[in-house]
């Protein structure tokens, strides 16, 4: 019943087939198309409602003043849990989840993404957002 070396055929199979592991930084590991990676703001669509900040479980989103009427979200990818709830909570689809996942950086600052400054008079989205 019991015997030694039950795994030997498997050892030979492995020895002659390609390794299952990859040499990571040199050869990339593919991710599926809808992988939950880095969330990115599309600022033109953002209404500044702040729902994303309210639902973020990791406090990675901060609404910052950009000179426009409403503040816009700034992301701290060092805190981000990549749950994609911000994209889900956003009513105007202003946050998209990219597949990007090579996010290591040498400083905390490099992991922050602030919205770009806007001017109040150049704010065409403002009335549109209110209509929604």
């Amino acid at each position: 019943m019991s015997r030694i070396g039950k795994v030997i055929p498997e050892l030979f199979k492995s020895l002659t087939s390609a390794p299952a592991t990859v040499d990571f930084p040199k050869s990339a590991v593919p991710v599926p198309p809808d992988y939950r990676g880095k969330p990115v703001l599309i600022q033109e669509k953002c209404t500044g409602c702040g729902l994303c900040q309210r639902d973020c479980p990791a406090a990675a989103i901060e609404m910052v003043d950009v000179g426009a009427k409403r503040p816009k979200p700034a992301f701290d990818y060092g805190r981000c849990a990549f749950c994609a709830q911000c994209a889900e909570s956003c009513r105007s689809d202003a946050i998209v989840i990219t597949g990007e996942h090579h996010l290591a950086a040498f400083s905390r600052e490099a992991l922050r993404a602030a919205p770009r400054p806007e001017k109040k008079e150049e704010e065409p989205q403002e009335p549109a957002a209110e209509q929604e």
């Binding site: 030694i4 479980p57 749950c83």
Partner: protein, 391 residues
């Protein structure tokens, strides 16, 4: 006869992947007594939930355990849905089952690898983790992440399983079934595996019941217990599967139960994928949950997971209580270890598939005379710790 000595295993030890302390009284190579100390990795998740809204809680709860993350979120979401009186759509129920069973597959394969490593069979470890990657890839395909799936939301699930994804999952399942058979065959016939697993850390059904064991640990001692069948949640009422029971009661029994459960999980997965009902994924959930309380049970890969939630009508829970399966199983291993060998320590601990961080909790000390409890400041606690170690 050799002198008795104390062998500390943990809080840092290569056999333990998480901090927990076991102090063994050892006579030569035989264990005479064991002292289990919990509490090295208390994270205060239950308390932290009270200051977050339900959506945020979901992601925090998910991080109780990296391996049964879907179990915890499902149990929590079921509680909240029950309080709010939501009936989630059938498709969402099926998707919860599919992700839950894939999670069971990956958890049991992970356990097999850990068990292999603990008994020094690293080849088994590498092979089973290689095959586990296939499951993780499927989970990544469905949910967008390998570990924290975040598929649950209050009132349903967040992502759909469409046609191509379904085909891809189905195409992998047969391969996984083959591998599970191979491992079951390997573990039950390889001489060195049998030498390490057979008749070690036996406990009878009475003992298992007395210690309140759950999940595969209980089923390996012949206790017929499975929340999926006894108290069906999600879509388990419609799933065809049988509860795997072994009356061996030893390490080999626990391995057999887990490996055969992989086969049952694959059956459930095939049924669920082929009969996936149409319909919406979510029902609209209120942000503020009405006052009320609920308990939900979930058969996690390691055993029964119990969540309790009390709501007070605001957008955050008033109290959350989690009983992870390891809490129920851990004291059984302490008893079954007596009389075993030092060499069996790692595999006996691993045999309940422990998850110490999930199980750790805070102890509140109440003075018997006055009935008052006191909070220590950080500085007091530090001084106390220094005094304790100097003694």
């Amino acid at each position: 006869m050799m002198a008795k000595y104390t062998l500390p295993v943990g809080p840092q030890h290569p056999a333990l992947k998480e901090p927990e302390s076991f102090w063994f009284k050892v006579e030569g190579e035989v264990i005479v007594d064991v002292d289990i100390r919990l509490g090295y990795n208390h994270r205060g998740i239950e308390k932290a939930c009270e200051s977050r809204n339900y959506i945020q809680c979901l992601y925090l709860i998910e991080r109780i355990c990296g391996i049964c993350s879907h179990s915890h979120t499902t149990a929590f979401a079921q509680c909240v849905e029950e309080i709010a009186g939501l009936e989630i759509p059938a498709r969402a129920k099926y998707i919860r089952v599919i992700v839950g069973e894939l999670e069971r597959l990956h958890s049991h394969l992970l356990w097999l690898g850990v068990a292999g490593h603990e008994i020094g069979f690293d080849t088994l470890f590498m092979y089973s983790w290689r095959d586990r990657e296939a499951v993780l890839d499927l989970l990544e395909l469905i949910t967008g992440n390998r570990v924290n799936y975040a598929i649950n939301t209050i009132g349903g699930v967040r992502r759909d399983i469409d046609g191509p994804k379904r085909e891809q999952i189905l195409s992998q399942l047969d391969l996984l079934a083959d591998r599970a058979k191979f491992y079951a065959d390997l573990v039950t016939t390889d001489s060195t595996c049998l030498a390490r697993l057979e008749n070690v850390a036996k406990f009878s059904a009475e003992q298992a019941r007395a210690f309140g064991t759950v999940g595969p640990t209980a089923r390996a001692s012949g206790i017929d217990l499975d929340v999926r069948r006894d108290d069906p949640y999600a879509a388990y009422g419609e799933m065809p599967f049988k509860v795997i029971i072994s009356d061996r009661g030893d390490l080999l029994g626990r391995a057999i139960v887990r490996l055969e459960e992989i086969g049952e999980s694959i059956k459930i997965l095939k049924y669920a994928l082929q009969n996936l009902p149409d319909g919406p994924l979510t029902v609209k959930a209120p942000r503020k949950v009405p006052a009320g309380e609920a308990v939900s049970r979930y058969e996690a890969p390691r055993g029964e997971d119990i969540h309790y939630v009390r709501a007070d009508g605001s957008d955050h829970p008033e109290r959350v209580k989690v009983r992870a399966p390891t809490m129920a199983n851990i004291y059984a291993i302490g008893e079954s270890m007596k009389g075993s060998y030092v060499a069996d320590i790692p595999i006996i601990i691993a045999s309940i598939d422990p998850c110490f961080s999930c199980t750790d909790r805070m102890i509140k000390i109440v003075r018997q005379e006055s009935g008052e409890a006191r909070t220590m400041t950080w500085e007091e606690l530090r001084q106390y710790g220094i005094r304790w170690y100097q003694q």
